[in-house]
């Protein structure tokens, strides 16, 4: 079975230790013995929600807020630029969630 990793008890996201697609993962770290269904394709190193997260609420990892939900997120959903924003960095809102490429610089 594939795994994801939960760093702190209060985290509401866990990080994938392998690519996954619509499958159940075992949670390592403080989430020992629990499991989580990943919805859709999510890549290794990326995060999925451990529970539903309402828009406007903090995304918590390492026991601290690392961002804010910009949309309602459901348990098992991929959490990244498309639904989570930094509280300090404005430019990151202009990055492509899949490739990470900047979309705000002009090449012409």
């Amino acid at each position: 079975m594939k795994h994801c990793f939960q760093v702190d008890k209060s985290d509401n996201v866990s990080t994938l230790l392998d690519d996954a697609n619509d499958e159940i993962l075992e949670i390592l770290g403080v989430g020992q013995n629990a499991s989580l269904k990943v919805l859709g394709p999510v890549k290794m190193g990326h995060k999925v929600a451990l529970r539903d997260i309402e828009a406007g609420l903090p995304i918590v990892k390492y026991g601290v807020p690392i961002g804010v939900a910009t949309r309602d997120i459901v348990k098992g959903e991929w959490v990244h630029l498309q639904n989570c924003r930094s509280q300090v960095d404005l430019r990151s809102a202009a990055m492509d969630p899949h490739s990470g490429a900047a979309t705000d610089t002009h090449y012409e």
Binding site: L16, L17, I66, S86, V88, R91, P97
Partner: protein, 401 residues
């Protein structure tokens, strides 16, 4: 393990090096081709240079620290002849440090082929002298300063890559060594965590000032220290990246903040501040690339660099061998020729963090003993010296006795 020793080069100032390099320094971009041609194909010869014609206190301070680094046995300084930075003045500092040194201007020596030939002949003599006069002594952890940097981070960096370096740092500090980490612009949101680790009220003051300067700087240049590869690798915000990056500092108390070219005053864990200070000529990003940060760490006396990557950075460094660590087992497999240490095994459950830290400690000792790291073997010696302003560190803070 704590009493482990290996042979090191004793320098006149009492510091010990793990390598005996001849450094070729150029003092303006116009002299770079000659400098690189002089160094081409030469064993144990590294190139470093400053591209600007106008001089810069920070750049000179950085280059002088690198020219008198414990891993450097001799120096050749090459200038064009019309630039502000003076090879002669650099040479005087190197000579005072007890190292063989030569310098010349390309314009005086009749141009390119003559300069390359002259440079090569100086180099041969300097390398001979550096080898002949080398004093090998026993060296151990208390003689070692290690610098840690991360680059090409992804979601594994904060889970395995940086934590294993942090665990090694705890050991290094326990053994009486000096451990430095930097990238204060990747400590965003961590002010209270940093302050809680301060070893003294003075350290807390320094950490607070350093933190606030880093945040102010990122806001003023409207760019935080996070890049496309980080995002593609799963890091969503600078706050998340910062929590993961900070793990490379381990858990020991933070003794204080040092500036560029300032060796840590006493053993322990230190944070290096490479962010510019307020100045009327404020321009440029504070950490334009990972290499710049590595130069700053080496300038503080780090004889070895630990570099954590997730996406797979291939860089090395001149002067101080760079050990490449990754927490991403796929990156390790895909880039075996470049990677020294696979911390991804911890995430796969193949070994514990404690076992991984012991292995890494052993690897550091091996590289210190002379075993080349992978980037060293591949010839990666990226350098970057840029214009910057940092207030000159207080004179007494630079003492490394």
């Amino acid at each position: 393990m704590s009493k482990r020793t290996w042979p090191g080069y004793l320098r006149p100032d009492g510091r010990k090096g793990v390598r005996n390099i001849v450094l070729v320094i150029y003092t303006v971009e116009c002299a770079s081709h000659v400098a690189k041609e002089v160094a081409r194909g030469e064993e144990d010869v590294h190139v470093l240079g400053f591209p600007g014609c106008y001089d810069n206190d920070y750049a000179i301070r950085l280059m002088l620290a690198l020219a008198t680094h414990p891993n450097v046995g001799a120096v050749l300084v090459i200038g064009l002849g019309c630039e502000y930075t003076q090879p002669k003045r650099i040479s005087e500092v190197v000579a005072k440090s007890g190292r063989p040194v030569e310098w010349f201007y390309i314009q005086d020596k009749g141009g390119t082929p003559n300069s390359i030939a002259l440079g090569k002949s100086h180099l041969a003599r300097l390398r001979d002298e550096a080898r002949r006069s080398a004093v090998l002594v026993s060296m151990g952890w208390p003689d070692l300063t290690v610098g840690a940097e991360c680059g090409g981070s992804d979601g594994t960096s904060g889970l395995a890559g940086n934590p294993v370096v942090g665990a090694f740092y705890d050991a290094l500090v326990n053994f009486g060594g000096r451990a430095i980490f930097e990238e204060t612009v990747e400590m965003i949101g961590l002010r209270d965590i940093m302050l809680a680790r301060a070893a003294s009220p003075e350290a807390a003051k320094q950490l607070q000032a350093t933190y606030e300067k880093a945040v102010r700087y990122c806001q003023s240049v409207r760019q935080f220290s996070i890049a496309p590869g980080n995002f593609a690798g799963g890091l969503t915000t600078i706050e998340e990246k910062s929590m993961g990056a900070f793990a490379k500092g381990g858990l020991r108390p933070i003794q204080g903040v040092i500036r560029v070219a300032q060796p840590p005053p006493h053993p322990g864990l230190w944070i290096l501040d490479s962010v510019p200070d307020e100045h009327f000529m404020q321009f440029g990003y504070t950490n334009p690339n990972d290499t710049e940060g590595i130069m700053d760490l080496i300038s503080a006396g780090a004889q070895i660099i630990l570099f954590v990557t997730g996406r797979g950075s291939v860089i090395g460094s001149p002067i101080a061998p760079l050990i490449k660590v990754t927490g991403n087992y796929r990156t390790f497999e895909r880039m075996r020729d470049d990677m020294d240490f696979n911390a991804g095994r911890v995430l796969l459950g193949e070994l514990s963090m404690e076992e991984a830290a012991k292995e890494l400690t052993d690897l550091v000792a091996q590289v210190a003993s002379g075993m080349p790291s992978k980037p060293e073997t591949l010839g990666h010696r990226e350098y970057f010296v840029m214009y910057k302003h940092q207030d000159t560190p207080a004179l007494d803070a630079g003492c490394h006795a």
